[in-house]
């Protein structure tokens, strides 16, 4: 290490020590650099995982379930409003018959006087033809059966919304995968659309009366009939809105899933439901 006969100075002692370190340093630095890089990478991965967990905690609560429950409850209240308002001419001077028809209404509820008989004749005529006694396509049974089925239908929709809210609360604790959550959300949406369409088709027959009032006018003994069904109109528009919004939610879910698959970004529900799909 040192040449023989070489004299030792206090300054040279330090330089010798430095030489000794230099030989080992090159080996050490390469090893330590590699090790440090690996260490940093692993640490970075761990930090990323912890960040992802933080974003999941920020996940928003989807309002579609709550909105569905609110709308269904409002519609359940609307069912108790008058289903039809009928107005027609009376035989008496300046006399006009106007009646509100509520749900579960039948002939007994309308009355047995001459004026009420005119309204009964609109729905079920006493002077029957060979083929039918009903000339407008609606009977008093429709005012009892349709509200009943509509009541069950909207109750089911409210229940569906509640189940979805409960599912979301469970999901917050267990944190399912985004795909699973989207599928469950879409299944709920599908059931909602089917039930809403069924109710839509059930209620739309209240509009068929306008065609038949025009065409079958000669057969009707009561003249100048005005028929308005505010409940049917309100429920129809509400159901159409529910169908449209639910389908658009399904569409947005599909597009967001597509985006997630294409970008290969970290899959967290906060990213999925950004924009308008928070419904």
């Amino acid at each position: 290490m040192y040449r023989e006969g070489e004299e030792m100075n206090p300054n040279k002692e330090d330089s010798l020590n430095e030489d000794f370190f230099l030989t080992t340093k090159n080996e050490k630095t390469t090893k330590e650099e590699i090790l440090d890089e690996n260490f940093k990478n692993v640490k970075g991965l761990k930090e990323k995982k912890s960040e992802d967990k933080k974003t999941i905690m920020k996940k928003p609560f989807l309002k579609s379930g709550i909105i569905l429950v609110i709308v269904a409850v409002i519609c359940l209240g609307i069912i108790y409003a008058p289903w039809a308002y009928v107005k027609c001419d009376s035989d008496y001077e300046d006399g006009k018959v106007d009646k509100f028809i509520f749900k579960n209404c039948d002939e007994d509820d309308i009355g047995y006087d001459n004026e009420s008989q005119k309204i009964i004749n609109i729905f079920e005529s006493n002077n029957c033809s060979n083929s039918s006694c009903n000339y407008v396509g609606l009977t008093f049974d429709d005012f009892s059966n349709t509200p009943k089925i509509t009541f069950y239908g909207f109750s089911f929709l409210a229940l569906l919304g509640l189940i979805f809210i409960i599912f979301q609360l469970i999901e917050r604790k267990h944190s399912f995968s985004v795909e699973r959550f989207t599928i469950v959300h879409s299944i709920f949406s599908t059931v909602t659309i089917i039930v809403s369409t069924f109710l839509f088709v059930l209620i739309i027959k209240f509009f068929g009366i306008y065609f038949l009032l025009y065409y079958n006018d000669p057969f009707l003994t009561t003249k100048n009939i005005v028929f308005v069904s505010p409940v049917a109109v309100t429920l129809l528009f509400t159901l159409a809105a529910i169908i449209k919004v639910t389908f658009s939610i399904m569409k947005i879910n599909c597009i967001e899933l597509e985006k997630n698959l294409n970008t290969n970004e970290p899959k967290n529900p906060f990213f999925i439901y950004k924009g308008g799909s928070k419904l």
Binding site: Y2, L35, N38, Y135, G137, V201, L212, C254
Partner: protein, 272 residues
């Protein structure tokens, strides 16, 4: 390309849904037939589906059953369109893609069959109405009949369902082809994939390994340093000894010389 495909499928499904709902509305609203009546009033009595179902005439009841078939077909089209769109979403999520794809194809085919059934039963209805005496298909104007309205909707459904199924089938064929290609590629590059799968498990192992290696390195470096230091100390001691030894000899010689001189002086003094 994929986004365009999703948009197309979404649009077609929306169209199918819209047409089926319109068809359902038409079947329950429109007056399908008109019957010439003599009592109580002479004239034509118009019938919609509700009226036909509650009629006393057997021919009219039979006709209502045909319209009911159209009605249920429209409703089934709606259900199948929503289910196929749901399966499309499931397929996009890649949870059970093969089952979802099968459902999409089945849904598309079912919609085609049902729309064909709607058109066929509509034609059949118009024909049977013409055959029965006293009953005719009710008309909007002199030439156009109300019964043609659901027929037009059925034709629209058929066109949109054919295009929907065509896109879906084309996409599924491409998907299966891609899968086959992927399988071949995975067979070739199976080893690197295995390594990539194990990376997550190795992350934690790497941490412990790096920690152990660092500790080892520190220990080795300290040992190495201590050993080198002892060597230096020994060398310095030797060198010091080497430096100290000649001085001692000189001192001894000097002392000897001094002693000798002292002795000589003493002898001289004694002699004198």
């Amino acid at each position: 390309m994929k986004k365009v495909l999703t948009d197309k499928v979404g649009k077609l499904t929306a169209w199918i849904m819209f047409l089926s709902i319109i068809g359902l509305a038409f079947t329950s609203i429109l007056p399908w037939i008109s019957v010439t009546e003599t009592t109580p009033v002479e004239g034509e009595l118009f019938f919609n589906l509700e009226m036909m179902e509650k009629s006393h005439n057997e021919d009219i009841i039979n006709l209502s059953e045909k319209i009911n078939l159209i009605d249920t077909s429209f409703f089934l089209v709606l259900i199948f369109s929503i289910l196929s769109y749901l399966s499309f979403i499931i397929y996009r999520s890649r949870t059970c893609s093969s089952f979802a794809q099968l459902m999409i194809i089945v849904g598309g085919c079912a919609i085609i069959i049902l729309s064909v059934l709607i058109i066929f039963s509509n034609f059949n209805f118009i024909k049977t109405v013409e055959d029965i005496e006293g009953i005719s298909a009710s008309y909007m104007f002199t030439s156009i009949k109300y019964a043609y309205m659901p027929l037009i909707v059925g034709v629209g459904l058929l066109i949109s369902s054919v295009s929907y199924t065509g896109i879906v089938v084309f996409y599924s064929i491409r998907y299966f082809r891609d899968q086959l290609k992927q399988k071949k590629s995975t067979q070739k590059t199976s080893e690197p994939e295995k390594i990539s799968k194990k990376t997550t498990e190795k992350d934690e192992e790497n941490i412990t390994k790096t920690m152990l290696l660092k500790e080892d390195l520190r220990k080795k470096s300290t040992e190495h340093l201590t050993s080198e230091c002892t060597e230096i100390e020994d060398w310095l001691k030797d060198e010091l000894q080497n430096i100290e030894s000649p001085t001692k000899n000189i001192k001894e010689q000097m002392e000897k010389e001094e002693e000798e001189t002292k002795e000589e002086t003493k002898e001289k003094e004694e002699d004198e």
